[in-house]
Amino acid sequence: MERKRITLAERKGVLTKLFFSTLYLSAFTFGGGYVIVTLLKRKFVDEYHWIEEDEMLDLVAIAQSAPGAIAVNGAIVVGYKLAGLLGVVTAITATIIPPFVIISLISACYAAFRDNLIISLMLEGMQAGVGAVIASVVYEMAYVFYHGRDTASMILMAAAFVAGCVFGVNVVIVVLAAGAIGVVRTLAARRKEAVK
């Protein structure tokens, strides 16, 4: 795609809009990265028409497949697409500010919170709640493999669980090993396709 020549004022306008829309999305999006990329799409594809729909799908795929938080990665791809490295810095700063400020305030009160009987009871009950949230996320993610009769994925999942939970293998090692298996599988599948 030809990169259009744009004036300095236009560029400044894009950066300002980018900053405030990512700041807003980051401050008011609950429910994790998958929600925020949907909102990024709505903002930059449907509302501003700055990015094509197809291209946005691929950008989202990049945000999801690279390591790191999806909200942060989503901001990076959109920022890079719209305004290059300056766009990345702008979008990422705007994405980081809300959680940084909110958690700073909370951690300042955390010790006092924890000593309060009512709040500590509340937090204790919420531990069971957060456990349930994680259990249901795991259940739903694992069900996809089961439902799709994806035996290879189920074996990988079981092996990773045994390695991490029973033998205490470090998380990084498990991730690297699974990644290596993924590279081998992808290359093997490609070769198969090439033979056909």
Binding site: F28, G32, A69, G125
Partner: protein, 187 residues
């Protein structure tokens, strides 16, 4: 020195958490609880709860929270920077390659194999959290288990499966139920 340690710890969290959302959780637990003892398991569980209730990715929230507790605002800045740096470099590089070649099947293929492992790691971190919830950090014995917390967990899980009620509401209800049980029934 502590700044460097925070930076490197969160750099690893940022670099190895594939799949977003909860994927960072087992890595944070490994670095922050197991390796350096910056947080106890109960504090870590609180942190995950707080992350659920506030906007922002778990990794960024944890970096801010742990950084501040260990080394104040500068610590929070260093940890947050560490956790987003790998994303900045890798995502920009991939986006650049993509905008040039528009092909990313290898990356997606690799991700296909990472996902099951990530689910397993999240499950394993979830088990540690449930241990904290059910046994309050004490030894895991049959008599030591808090049946009230088990009941709260089961009800919360079933409520979530109906998909009629969001995770934040479910957690708040669990918190209120625990409070109510103590105030009304004295447990």
């Amino acid at each position: 020195m502590i700044y460097l340690q925070l930076f490197l710890s969160f750099l690893q969290i940022g670099l190895f958490s594939f799949g977003g959302g909860y994927a960072a959780m087992p890595l944070i637990q490994d670095q922050v609880v197991t390796r350096y003892g910056w947080l106890s398991m109960a504090e870590f569980t609180d942190l995950i709860t707080i992350s659920q209730m506030t906007p922002g990715p778990i990794a960024v929230n944890s970096a801010t929270f742990v950084g501040i507790r260990i080394a104040g605002i500068p610590g929070a800045l260093v940890a947050t920077f560490g956790c987003i740096l790998p994303s900045c470099i890798l995502v920009t590089a991939i986006a650049r390659l993509y905008l040039k070649y528009r092909n990313m099947s290898v990356l997606q293929g690799v991700l296909g194999s990472l996902r099951p492992a990530v689910v397993a790691m999240i499950a394993s971190a979830g088990i540690s959290i449930l241990q904290t919830a059910f046994w309050g950090g004490a030894a895991v014995t049959f008599s030591g288990i808090s049946w009230l917390m088990v009941a709260l967990f089961v009800v919360a899980f079933l409520l979530l499966q109906t998909h009629r009620i969001g995770p934040i509401q479910v957690m708040l209800l669990a918190g209120l139920a625990r409070m109510g049980a103590s105030l009304l029934l004295g447990i």
